[in-house]
């Protein structure tokens, strides 16, 4: 187990370095001179030159990258080119919001997708199966933000059951947070739930046909024991992989859902930074999300090892 973690961490470090290098190289591609933009329209040559010095743009690219890297290692991701806000500070405020939304969507996906997948597999080719497969097919094709828009129209505006906008931080009032996060969670988690259900159905059907399940049934084990103890642990493995990939997808999709429900996460920050060409912030967001995904994959690997002793 420890060796596994160690091996993964060894792979992770080069990956993180590579991603930062890539993002940093992108800054060379940006058309136009940021210094000219920031100095304003009527800036003189000296003013532009001063701005350039202040931003460190007069130094060669590799020096800036190494500087940034040294800062990043200490948790300082630099400052916004425009507002001079600390990027670490901005991310510290906004990332927890997005992460909470993403995690609750993941939980929703598991809570809905797992029973649906099992039911579909057990009632294979009957109406329950057809229904679940049909809904899942639509769920995968439907953009989550459109579902969000529809939910917002029906449940928040027409029925008034949920707040339309306004976000309450979890630390401030957990009940209000939960109330406000329900619709975004459903909108974000629905496609993931569909994917989980499809995957679990397939792997459960495969598992149910295997010899060890027949043996367990033949030796007189109760139906639910066979299902729960033998089949499910075996079938759960691909689902863990799906959940890990979904985490990455959800983190991206959350950016769009946040816009629908006006949630102050990294989504708005990312979009505004792209429009303003504030690359330091984009860079910070990219690096931090990579880190989150690397950790998720590590957790998924551990879960794999726990579920199937063969890979341990």
């Amino acid at each position: 187990m420890l060796a596994l973690i160690g091996r993964r961490l060894l792979v992770t470090l080069p990956l993180l370095l590579f991603v930062t290098l890539l993002v940093s190289l992108m800054s060379l591609l940006v058309p136009g001179d940021p210094a000219v933009q920031i100095a304003g329209e009527n800036a003189t040559h000296e003013q532009i030159e001063l701005t350039r010095q202040r931003l460190g743009l007069d130094r060669p690219w590799h020096e800036r990258y190494l500087d940034w890297l040294a800062g990043a290692a200490r948790g300082d991701l630099g400052n916004s080119v425009f507002t001079n806000d600390s990027v670490s500070q901005l991310l510290q405020e906004r990332l927890p919001v997005t992460l909470a939304l993403t995690l609750s969507a993941l939980v929703f996906a598991a809570l809905v997708g797992v029973p649906a997948g099992i039911l579909a597999a057990l009632r294979r080719n009957r109406w329950q199966d057809s229904l679940i497969r049909g809904v899942a097919t639509i769920g995968i094709a439907m953009p989550g933000y459109w579902l969000g828009l529809l939910l917002l129209m029906v449940f928040a505006i027409q029925l008034g059951l949920f707040p339309t906008i306004g976000y309450t931080p979890l630390t401030e009032n957990p009940a209000a947070w939960l109330h406000g996060i329900v619709l975004p969670t459903v909108a974000l988690g629905a496609p993931a739930a569909a994917e989980v259900a499809r995957q679990l159905r397939r792997s459960m059907i495969d598992t149910l046909q295997q010899d060890f399940v027949r043996t367990a049934t033949a030796k007189g084990l109760r139906y639910w024991m066979v299902l729960g103890k033998h089949a499910l642990t075996h079938a759960a493995n691909p689902v863990v992989t799906v959940l890990a990939t979904q985490m990455a997808l959800l983190l991206g999709a959350a950016v769009i859902i946040e816009k629908v429900f006006v949630i102050p996460g990294i989504g708005e920050l990312a979009v505004n930074s792209v429009i303003n060409k504030d690359l330091t912030i984009v860079q910070g967001i990219v690096v931090v999300t990579t880190l989150v995904i690397v950790v998720t994959n590590l957790l998924a690997d551990l879960a794999h090892a726990w579920l199937s002793p063969r890979t341990r």
Binding site: V30, P143, L149, I157, K277, T289
Partner: protein, 302 residues
């Protein structure tokens, strides 16, 4: 990943006679037509294609004509889907947006296939060490959330539809590269290709006549699957305002524009979303149909 035929024999990619080729194609069509979902999806996509080609002629109103006297009108006999915040006819805007949406999906596919396939091909025939390194890099890019990667690329390119679709195409590159490499590796060391190499066939001819025919199947399926994703990605980025820029609109951009009016003009948000969902649904159904209808190995038992 795609199930790929491992039982392929030496004859599978040998130059076929015209008759065998014809029979092949016919079998594919027969199988495809036996999937009602795929046929229905294909018909819907044909409709979308007609809208994309002749949209400007089919639109009942001028999609860019502001009419401030008729702002945010609900659906009526004159404006079937209502009007938007500038009094423009939503139906006309949707029809005209079809071309932009389809174009966007095609651009990203072209970028993904155009870079990904040669990259995978190169990685497969390169020395294993180099090829492996190349694949590690694509692995790293693939681990990334697609939308965020696209936003990162857009950070460098600036917002705009073409830039957005290049960004989405970049997301697809590793997927196509991996698939190509895997498919090529499966056949590249078959005896008939080794034999061909030994007798001095130029690399280019080997690739064209022996390798490419073997990877088209999985590649076509992957393109079809990716197509649906490209549409969702374009819609998402345009929804955020990073894709199509006004006055141009794609379906996603129309949906994004509807957002501030959910309270007052619900109809603006229904039609574009429905159209996106149906198109992606149709694309996925066609992709499934193609996957099930292609050669022996690519068929999956349900």
């Amino acid at each position: 990943m795609m199930p790929v035929d491992t039982r392929k024999t030496d004859t599978s990619s040998a130059p076929e006679t015209a008759v065998a080729h014809y029979r092949h194609r016919w079998r594919f069509l027969r199988r495809f037509l036996s999937h009602p979902g795929a046929v229905l999806g294909g018909a819907f996509l044909a409709l979308v294609a007609v809208l994309a080609m002749f949209g400007p002629h089919l639109a009942p109103h001028d999609p860019l004509q502001n009419n401030l006297g008729q702002v945010l009108q609900p659906p009526s006999g004159d404006h079937w889907l209502g009007t938007d915040d500038l009094g423009r006819d939503l139906l006309s805007r949707l029809i005209v947006a079809t071309r932009i949406t389809v174009q966007a999906a095609l651009i990203s596919l072209a970028v993904g296939v155009g870079i990904g396939v040669p990259l995978g091909l190169a990685a497969a025939i390169m020395p294993p060490l180099l090829g492996g390194l190349l694949m590690r890099i694509t692995d790293g890019i693939m681990a990334f959330p697609p939308i965020l990667l696209a936003i990162g690329v857009l950070g460098a390119l600036g917002p705009g539809l073409t830039q957005a679709m290049i960004a989405v195409g970049v997301v697809f590159v590793p997927r196509f590269a991996r698939l190509t490499r895997a498919s090529v590796q499966q056949v590249y060391h078959e005896t008939y290709i080794e034999a061909s190499r030994v007798i001095g066939t130029p690399l280019r001819r080997i690739l064209r006549w022996h390798v490419l025919p073997n990877i088209t199947g999985p590649l076509v399926v992957q393109i079809a699957v990716t197509c649906g994703f490209a549409m969702l990605a374009e819609a998402g980025l345009s929804f955020l305002g990073l894709g199509a820029q006004p006055p141009d609109a794609s379906w996603g951009a129309l949906l994004g524009r509807a957002l501030p009016y959910v309270n007052t003009a619900w109809w603006l948000g229904i039609a574009p979303g429905l159209l996106i969902t149906l198109t992606v649904l149709a694309t996925n159904a066609v992709a499934d149909g193609i996957g099930d209808s292609l050669g022996r190995g690519s068929r999956r038992q349900k």
